[in-house]
């Protein structure tokens, strides 16, 4: 049984089934949504160590659309579906505050299907289509509350997202004009034979703008701090945790390393974008008082780390970047779920009006402590190891100032998370918050799963600093360069 097409087919199918059956059965959306994600998570773990290629509709490579499975795809699939599972478990009780659960789960599954498609596909135009499936459903999910802020953020996100998709489509068109094929593997072969040309450089610039907008690198980051805090908490967790990585960073890296072929200029652009995002993101974050907005700015900053790691181009840098990508998706989604839990229990996420929650909400407080220590890079948690690898890689390849900047930003991150911990959880309780209780059981379970993952993933580094489990396979896909598949 070939698993590859099911990653797209199952969520897409269930997304259509949910609205059909849940007129009568009120519990169906919860059950189907969670079951689907659980099933996808198990499947994602089953793909470890496998590679393969699936021809959609039986058409062979130059004619049809290929779905490819390799180490990098496996890593992304695991990240997407595990975070998705935690978010749906959290949604069961959290989303009762909103009106329509069936539409929520339907859109959520479309988003998951789109992202699974993006990481699996081996065809440029198909990639664009999946990208749009995921993007359109995420615009709708950001607007889900239909209040002033949500609509405004969603409009901004949708307009910038459409412009980004437009750029990407022009890029795809130009590359098709140069190579005459849409298959990524063939494209790579033809591009390396043709060498650099002016349309290729234009296409690359368009891809940088397009995917930079999707992943909110700094000159293109304006939509993220509005869109991510406005969405419902599980959706913010998905958006910050995996959407910006699967739609932005993953595709950019795949194109640069495996299709265009690495050159020093490309890497230099990546390093500069990464440095800008890393430093500016953290400076904008530290002044925020809205909990979710602060986390959203930190996403920009941490994306900067990931991009710098890739921009070094050395094997160690790539390992660090992939490891940090995996870690960031876990601890950032956990932080957003924490913020959601705090908002659920107290009705506010303004840090000035919170305080003393570690007594009344022990699970939320402790899981958020784990996540905060992890993102700030306190040993021995996972965030420390991946940042350490990136800093080491910077120093190893002679970029000492980048290493210094990374350490400095890490300290700033620590400072801003101390602020969150102090104001939200440790300070003496405000009189308005005396009666606050812990959130319902399923929300606690979702947060605990992610907190345990944070701790467990710290041990990945024991399998080898340069070759951690899972990440090794993924980084080899990138370092071998232009791919040649059976």
């Amino acid at each position: 049984m070939n698993l590859i097409p099911l990653f797209v087919a199952i969520p897409l199918g269930v997304a259509f089934i949910i609205p059909m059956v849940s007129r009568k059965l009120k519990w169906a959306p919860d059950l189907l949504g969670n079951l689907t994600l659980a099933c996808l998570t198990v499947m994602a773990f089953m793909t470890i160590g496998q590679t393969g290629i699936y021809h959609m509709g039986g058409w062979q490579t130059p004619l049809g659309i290929d779905l490819r499975l390799d180490g990098l795809t496996t890593l992304m699939l695991i990240a997407i579906n595990v975070i998705g599972l935690a978010a749906t478990i959290f949604s069961v009780q959290y989303m009762t505050r909103y009106t329509s659960k069936l539409r929520y789960y339907s859109l959520f599954l479309f988003m998951v299907a789109g992202m699974n498609g993006v990481v699996l596909t081996g065809d440029m135009f198909n990639l664009y289509v999946f990208l749009e499936i995921a993007a359109i459903s995420s615009y709708a999910l950001v607007a889900f509350g239909c209040e002033h802020e949500e609509l405004e953020a969603s409009f901004k996100y949708a307009i910038l997202g459409s412009v980004a998709s437009g750029f990407i489509l022009i890029g795809v068109a130009l590359i098709y004009g140069i190579t005459g094929t849409l298959n990524m593997a063939q494209m790579a072969v033809k591009l390396s034979a043709a060498g650099p040309s002016k349309p290729l450089i234009l296409a690359f610039a368009l891809f940088i703008c397009g995917f930079g907008l999707k992943s909110a690198l700094v000159p293109f980051h304006a939509w993220l701090p509005d869109a991510h805090p406005s969405a419902p908490a599980p959706v913010s967790a998905m958006l910050s945790g995996v959407v910006i990585k699967a739609l932005g960073i993953y595709v950019l890296v795949r194109l640069i390393f495996n299709v265009f072929g690495v050159t020093e200029n490309f890497l230099m652009i990546l390093r500069w974008l990464g440095l800008l995002s890393m430093v500016l993101g953290v400076f904008l974050a530290i002044g925020q008082w809205d909990m979710k907005r602060l986390f959203a700015y930190h996403s920009i900053s941490q994306i900067g780390y990931i991009v710098i790691g890739f921009g070094l181009g050395t094997p160690l840098g790539i390992v660090g970047a992939l490891f940090h990508m995996l870690n960031h998706s876990v601890f950032k989604s956990l932080l957003f779920l924490n913020a959601g839990a705090v908002e659920y229990a107290t009705g506010t996420r303004d840090l000035k009006r919170l305080g003393g929650l570690n007594k009344s909400m022990p699970v939320t407080a402790n899981t958020s402590l784990v996540a905060s220590m992890s993102i700030a890079g306190i040993p021995p948690l996972n965030g420390f190891w991946s940042k350490l690898i990136i800093v080491l890689a910077c120093a190893e390849s002679g970029h000492y100032w980048l290493a210094l900047a990374a350490v400095f930003v890490s300290l700033m991150t620590l400072a801003s998370f101390l602020k969150v911990q102090k104001y939200a959880f440790f300070e003496s309780a405000k009189s308005t918050l005396k009666k606050v209780g812990e959130v319902p059981i399923l929300m606690r379970i979702a947060m605990l799963i992610l907190a345990v993952l944070c701790v467990v993933m710290s041990f990945l580094v024991l399998t080898g600093l340069r070759t951690p489990f899972l990440i090794d396979a993924a980084s080899r896909v990138l370092t071998t360069g232009v791919f040649n598949f059976p």
Binding site: E132, I136, A140, L151, E152, V163, A173, D290
Partner: protein, 115 residues
């Protein structure tokens, strides 16, 4: 030459997105940009004086492939039109909701999000 006209159309759309204050005009600008892109896609597959890419019974295969335009971008454009229709529908419905909430289409007056 004709490519540059395409890029001008895209640039007009982009200009509208950046400069216009009215949300509906911004949506229209996005649509203009997408038309420009679709036109570019079609142009990439076009061949001067080419025939339609439909293979009939009596046709010679070699002559056909030498003369017909590339059919693939046309298929891509169909897909891309459908996608832009979806985006457009969503954007317009967000505009309607925005008007319900704020009572205006002016984007400079929608400033709940700052910082």
């Amino acid at each position: 030459m004709i490519y540059s006209l395409c890029f001008i159309l895209i640039a007009v759309g982009l200009y509208g997105v950046v400069v216009k204050k009215n949300v509906v005009k911004i949506v229209i600008s996005v649509a203009i940009m997408e038309y420009g892109i679709n036109l570019l896609l079609i142009l990439i597959g076009y061949r001067q004086g080419g025939c339609a890419p439909i293979l009939d019974k009596g046709m010679d295969l070699a002559a056909f492939t030498a003369n017909s335009v590339d059919p693939l971008p046309q298929a891509l454009v169909l897909t891309s039109i459908v996608i832009s229709l979806g985006v457009l529908a969503l954007l317009v419905s967000i505009c309607i909701r925005l008007y319900e909430r704020y009572g205006t289409f002016d984007i400079t007056e929608m400033r709940k999000l700052r910082g």
